[in-house]
Amino acid sequence: MVGNDIVDLAEAKMSSNWQRPRFLEKLFTPNEQQYIKNSNNPFLKVWQLWSMKEAAYKLYTQLNPSRFYSPKSFDCAVQNKNQKVFFKDFECYTQSKVTSNYIISEARLNLFEINSEVIRLNVRHHKSQSKETKSALLSSISRTHQVPFSELKLQKSELGIPTVSFNSEKIKVSISHHGQFGAYAFVHVALPAKGGVSL
């Protein structure tokens, strides 16, 4: 299972103000606020921690189908390159990649190397961006697993949790888009060859 989240830094700068009163206190634990305060670039630290929380939330809700808004309860611990996020009795690993344009974070249950793909979106409207990201995800699964694009179906549960199915196989995925960027990740599985029988 995988959760991911992308933050477009230009978009974050434009549509959020992390310095507004009570913003940090609402989203971050005292410990995280300290990370932000001690950082050379508090803006980047805010959005890195935010994307870690979101990625962890997406992983958590795949395991425990639910929907809620409680970013402060997802507690990030950053030590060197090792990042973990804790929520109640749940914990996961996260990895982030920071570029000058975006931050992408990915969460998994075990230690891993980040492999979310990031795309620059060609369209502006929210719905079309969502479509473009989903389509890129399906193309990538189709290439990786050598299965026809047309046989992959992306579904979202009532709670908004996405899964891709191929015949009776389910592929765990995560998608995110923000501003000009889309990102997707999926868990590689052994799929039966085309025409094969899956029991």
Partner: protein, 83 residues
Amino acid sequence: MNKEELIPKLKTIIAPYVQDEEAFKFLSEDTDFVKDLKINSANLVDIILDIEDEFDIRLENEDMENMLDVKSAMQIINTKLDN
């Protein structure tokens, strides 16, 4: 505060963050901030802070948990105003 007073106030607060204007036109109690209005989850906190300022209340982490739709937002605001 009743629905007729509260919904217009909420509409003014959430308008700047809405990404689906069509859904916003038909806003009702059942409208979901994220699923229907496509509000970015990073902006939910702005809505919460704006609500705090507008109604002069403070929302705790437990209050924020359900703040995903118009109905829950109205309930939480009213509970706080009654206290």
